[in-house]
């Protein structure tokens, strides 16, 4: 598989404590971080694309995790931004607050990578214990290590 999870999870692309209280703000906050990490050129357009997709159908799983994303050529390769909110963010669809946000950008030419990426993360965070570890991680590096190890365990 072309997706390397070690490279995908980057501490520089993690917002450990989101300031945002709303879905829109949360998405923009994570996208700004991706922009700062030089993964996205046009952050406004990218955030709009993510929100447009979110408006069609919410990606809130109902388990405190959401996977907002966009398939757009505003990104050149698969990118992942992570946001954590201890207080929770109201995120579309189900009432449950979201504590972990995995924001994915996929270029249009990549078809299966989105599935592989989201599918893998969804399986990493499926055990409640894993989600609690992520919730309690002290630094972005710790959080990324948990995810990287989780990806390795799945293989």
């Amino acid at each position: 598989m072309a997706v390397s999870f070690h490279d995908l999870f980057q501490p520089a692309q993690v917002v450990l404590e989101l300031r945002a209280k709303t879905q829109n703000d949360a998405v923009r906050e994570i996208v700004e971080r991706l922009h700062a990490a030089k993964r996205v050129e046009d952050d406004d357009a990218f955030a709009d694309a993510v929100m447009e997709r979110e408006a069609r159908s919410s990606t809130n799983t109902g388990d405190g995790v959401a996977f907002p994303h966009a398939r757009t050529d505003l990104v050149e390769e698969l990118v992942l931004g992570i946001g954590r909110s201890k207080n929770g963010v109201k995120f579309g669809g189900p009432d449950a607050l979201v504590h972990l946000i995995f924001l994915v950008g996929v270029p249009q030419r990549l078809v299966t990578d989105y599935l592989v990426c989201v599918g893998t993360i969804a399986r990493i965070v499926r055990p409640k214990a894993k989600r609690e570890q992520l919730f309690n991680a002290a630094t972005a590096d710790d959080l990324v290590d948990i995810l990287r190890n989780g990806a390795l365990e799945l293989q």
Binding site: T61, F67, Y114, L115, A122
Partner: protein, 594 residues
Amino acid sequence: MATEIGQTDPKLKSLLRGLKLRVWIAEVVRPTELQITLCWAGVIGFVGAVASFAFREATEAVHWLLTQRVGDYASTFAALPYWRRLITPAIGGLIAGAIIYAGARFRRSKYTTDYMEAVVVGEGLIALRSSLVKCTSAMFSVASGASIGREGPLVQLSSLCSSLLARWQKWSRPRRRLLVACGAAAGIASAYNAPIGGALFVADIVLGSLEMQIFGPLVFASVIATLTMQRFVGKEPLYASSFQLRSDWEIVPHIGLGILIGFAAPLFLRLLRVSERWFATLPLKVYTRMMIGGFIVGALTILSPQVAGNGYSAISHILHAQWFWPALALILICKLIATAATFGSGAVGGVFTPTLLIGASSGFLFGTLTRYLLGASITSDPAVFALVGMGAFLAATTHAPVMALLMVFELTLDYQIILPLMLASVIAYYISISLERRSIYSESLKRKGALFFDERLAHVRVADLLKRDPLTVLETARFREIGQDFITNRFNYIYVVDDARHFKGAISLHDIKGYLRDPDLADLVIARDVMRFDFPTIECDTSVRDALQRFSKHDGERLPVVANNESAELLGTVSKTDLILALAHRDSEATEEK
């Protein structure tokens, strides 16, 4: 934090199981449309053979009703008193004509009854009721001893079955035409126990093409038809024989036979046409005409009972018995007149077996003469000449030498005769075609078909091959819906459209594989997340050839057809197989017109 993610619900589980199976079928079995067409060709072969057998049995029953005798027609007629020989074909002709007369009101159907027309120039559809009228009429003609072949109605019935199947399955036009052709091949194969001949007859005469896309299904249909028929009637070739050539020099008189037949065949074709015209000038209803035709045949059977029927038993006699040549000459002349009378009067049926008998008796007479001139040490049995004559005459009247020599080979399964047979067939063909451009079969086609050629088929566009109402989902469709669609349909792609039915992209079953391990994704993902944005499309006014090009970079069987590039409204789909078939048909027509 929320609780443990809930157990996957059972509905979703069974959906995922179904999808896994679907992916397995798509990847391991990978049935292409051509393979599916092959399977249908096999079904048509079976159905065609069963229909043929039913027709044979029905004909035998009618023959018993008319003569109270069972057996080959030459001996049943020989056993009848003279007056009954005279009236039996006349009664048959009267009934057969009356059936045609009564069935004339079905004529207005928009479909043809001629399978060749349906395949070559038409829609690939055959009219049901008028075909049945034709077959029933033919049944009475054949059963009453008219000089006509069974293969006509057999082929008719068998192609009718495939046309009905095509209508029921809503196949596209090129595929309908191909499968009706398969029905015809099945009919011939089961009539003569000749699978190679059946496939080649249709490929050579009807389609004029040996492209594998077309020939493959024809082979399938005729093999299955032959196997089925052999279950009913046994495996013996119709005219089993085994002869030895005496010397290599014998090839010389066979060349002479080829030349002679090359000159004779056009005369036979003209005789049929003259007779047809003469009967047409009679101010009589069709049943009276056919009764007169029957009387003529009946009168001839008084002279020679061998004239009765298609000539099958007469050919067997020629090949296996010693004949005194004047008796055979009498049969030849009577058979010529009987065949001309039967055809001219408008009886429905095949010319194939009567043609064989005329070729066989001419060959036998020629062989007798050669033997008399050159002596028995050089020349073999005149029956060898009869076989070669059969092939040569067939080649010269049908203008299809390859089919003719293979057919004779299959009818006799005698490999020894293949060398003189090949030479004589080809020679007779060349001479005949230089004298007479129309073959025995091209007649009706040229008459009806000429009008259609240019406008309808020369410019087949993708729009003509369109299959409407493809399976689509909206961009926001969820995984459950998409997965269900993949399970209930055998497509490997589902098209994604917006609210205005504009084409947006396509979802590939192969891409969906990613879902199968992750039930969690089922509620997260919508069509747009996994569709291919750069999926190739074809505009509806594209030419067939250009459209086929589009498939070169795509591994699927179908591509979406859109109105035009700007609005991209999804009109339907077109399949690669249909495009190839359309091109193959068209190429064969182009060569025919030259």
